[in-house]
């Protein structure tokens, strides 16, 4: 197997699925330009041309409805949003129509639409370009919401989306784009609702999706230096959620820390905590801890921004606190985007 970066894995999945299924088309603001959505759409445009890979005007709500209407008559649209924050403009079509289509029209047909939204982080992108909308989408029955944290998962989940019955929202954290790992060459789908044990451990369970799966793994390395053996779980999809894997893990560890890229209040971390206490109460030896951004919009200024995002350090410290270990985390780790300097 060869190494692929996260964005290369997305590109490969797109091209392979478009080759296999002529009904797939790819659109979004700038999918055919020289940047090709951070490289993820450039190869598809080169291969399939303007007939199947085309730019679209602003007007995200219409774009969403257009994708739904195309899907209603046999297409499989893949729509990309270079910043998921703009998907607030699509909420009516996504939540009032796509999510409800199958159910409210009598369960006969769904709309196999796939939306990729990229989550910004760092470089002072601030309040309206650094949000992570998994909880907002996952609240609504009818949608699939997945948050790939690794190149292989980015490929497998996108394949699943493009072969499935939809509608699917895939949220990709920009901070993960340059990570490389072995990725299978075949377009093998990874089913929604199947989590992954990123690191096995016995003392505490850390649940983190998307970037937080990566950061939790780094937190576990710090914790190992403190003699703590953490288990890291990446749910991979927010909805459906792999509850069985979560419960199995806390049965073993008895402790749960949930890290999330978005706020605690009514958030994904709250949902995971609720599942744990509702269905795994007898396993828990300590209260559930959430590690999330503080209750304010994302700031721009560098020290504020660094304090805003959960990091391996804050995740590890939460675990130590939960274990009632009086020590503090001895060392930090480099910021996930320390070497990142744009392009913006």
């Amino acid at each position: 197997m060869r190494l692929l970066r996260y964005w290369e894995a997305i590109s490969e999945a797109t091209v392979q699925c478009m080759e296999a299924d002529a009904s797939i088309f790819l659109t979004g603001i700038g999918v055919d330009d020289f940047k090709g959505i951070f490289g993820t759409t450039a190869e598809a445009y080169r291969r399939f041309g303007a007939a199947r890979v085309f730019d679209i005007p602003n007007g995200e709500n219409a774009t969403t409805g257009i994708a739904i209407g195309a899907a209603a008559v046999g297409k499989r649209p893949l729509v990309v949003h270079p910043r998921n924050d703009f998907m607030f403009l699509c909420m009516d079509q996504l939540l009032n129509l796509a999510a409800k289509w199958r159910y409210m029209f009598g369960g006969k047909t769904g709309v196999p639409v796939v939306f990729r939204g990229i989550v910004g982080r760092g470089w002072g992108q601030g309040a309206t370009h650094s949000q992570s909308l998994q909880a907002a989408f996952a609240h609504f029955p009818g949608l699939y919401v997945a948050t790939p944290a690794s190149p292989a998962d980015a490929k497998g989940l996108l394949v699943s989306a493009l072969q499935g019955t939809g509608p699917v929202i895939l949220l990709e954290n920009r901070a993960l784009y340059e990570l490389a790992e072995e990725v299978p060459e075949a377009p093998t789908p990874i089913p929604f609702g199947q989590g992954k044990i990123v690191r096995a451990g016995k003392d505490v369970t850390i649940v983190g999706a998307s970037l937080m799966a990566y950061e939790a793994k780094r937190a576990a390395e710090i914790l190992a230096e403190h003699g703590v053996d953490a288990e890291v779980i990446d749910p991979r999809s927010i909805r459906p959620l792999d509850e069985a894997m979560l419960l199995e893990s806390i049965k073993k560890t008895g402790r749960l820390v949930v890290a999330d890229t978005s706020w605690a209040f009514c958030g994904f971390a709250a949902e995971v905590a609720a599942v744990a206490v509702e269905k795994g109460w007898e396993y828990l030896k300590a209260p559930v801890r959430r590690v999330t951004p503080p209750d304010c919009p994302a700031p721009v200024s560098r020290p504020l921004e660094e304090a805003f995002h959960p990091s391996p350090l804050t995740i590890a410290q939460a675990c130590l606190d939960l274990l009632k270990m009086e020590s503090s985390v001895k060392r930090g780790v480099s910021d996930v985007q320390a070497s990142f300097a744009g392009p913006y």
């Binding site: 007939a51 969403t64 409805g65 257009i66 209603a72 297409k75 409210m104």
Partner: protein, 322 residues
């Protein structure tokens, strides 16, 4: 008119059929068995019938909350619609959608939805798919004057023109959005059809209570769509007789006058079509009465069947979400 032989009678018959369904539902609604907010099309039948008569079976239609007439005119299953209103498993949305979410895929009536402007975008999307596949199929979306105020309306017109898509936008301008008149909502100096035209597409104002005029305009517009000329827009001037939602009359509620309602009832699209066909010797009053009886029987049978049909089982409550 230079239409296929018998088309005039067909247009009249379709309107009579829709009126029979709607009046029957309105009569039965107060019994409380139909528990779904219902927006009646009574008075607006000519737009639905005139436009849909210009379409082929494999063309697709979308609509909004006031969708009964469009669904029926496109060939949607009447019994399925009535059963849907009664919340039965045999309904066209299996009792999950209700009055505002009618659909009949086989008939080409893809979807109706209660949020303004949603199904303008879906029609544009279907038209995009048809164009990508080199098909001559067209998509039609029906909406009211209120939807013109939604951002998505403008996003969609823009996109359809840029991509030259085979989509017909049909605005039923009945003068009111719920209880608010057009004059306090939109600039009077630039009528809706003119704003649509400003995007660069053929756009026309039509007497929406003249089924023959609507048919003529729609036929011409659809021919243009099939030739690949890009989208077209029809603003059909019409009027809603009953309250915004529900079966009652509401001319005493202060937002419009009884005189205005009476004036529009005098312009009833069915009455006008009958007068014209009788005058031209294409139809007799006896025939009209026979047609009315025939459709009333069909509607009555649908009501009996709906009432006898089973409700969905609670065990299936969440089935169909995914």
């Amino acid at each position: 008119m230079d239409a296929p032989s018998g088309i005039e009678r067909r247009l009249l018959g379709e309107m009579i059929r829709i009126r029979a369904v709607e009046e029957t539902i309105a009569d039965l609604y107060p019994q409380g068995e139909m528990r779904t907010p219902t927006h009646f099309s009574i008075g607006q039948e000519a737009v639905a019938v005139g436009v849909c008569a210009a379409l082929s079976g494999d063309d697709v239609v979308y609509s909004g909350h006031r969708c009964h007439a469009h669904y029926l005119a496109k060939g949607g299953d009447l019994a399925g619609m009535v059963a849907e209103l009664f919340g039965r498993e045999t309904g066209c949305a299996r009792g999950r959608g209700g009055s505002v979410h009618l659909n009949d895929r086989e008939a080409g009536f893809i979807a109706a939805s209660a949020i303004l402007g949603q199904t303008i975008a879906t029609a544009v999307g279907s038209a995009l798919a048809f164009k990508m596949d080199g098909l001559s199929r067209v998509a039609v979306t029906f909406f009211g004057d209120g939807t013109v105020e939604e951002g998505i309306f403008h996003e969609c017109l823009n996109f359809a023109v840029v991509k030259r898509l085979p989509v017909l936008f049909v605005c039923e301008n009945n003068g009111y959005s719920t209880h608010t008149s057009l004059g306090v909502r939109q600039p009077a100096s630039v009528p809706i059809h003119a704003r649509a035209a400003s995007y660069g597409m053929p756009s026309e104002r039509v007497d929406g209570n003249d089924v023959f005029a609507v048919f003529r305009a729609a036929r011409e517009a659809v021919a243009g769509l099939r030739r690949g000329n890009g989208p077209s827009f029809l603003e059909c001037i019409t009027y809603r007789w009953r309250e915004h939602v529900g079966p009652l009359w509401d001319y005493d509620k202060g937002y419009r006058t009884k005189a205005e309602v009476i004036e529009w009832i005098a312009r009833c699209p069915i009455k006008r079509a009958i007068e014209r066909l009788v005058a031209e010797g294409l139809c007799s009053m006896d025939e009209v009465a026979r047609i009315e009886r025939g459709y009333q029987d069909e509607v009555n049978r649908a009501v009996v069947a709906a009432k006898a049909a089973p409700f969905p089982t609670v065990d299936d409550l969440t089935v169909g979400t995914y």
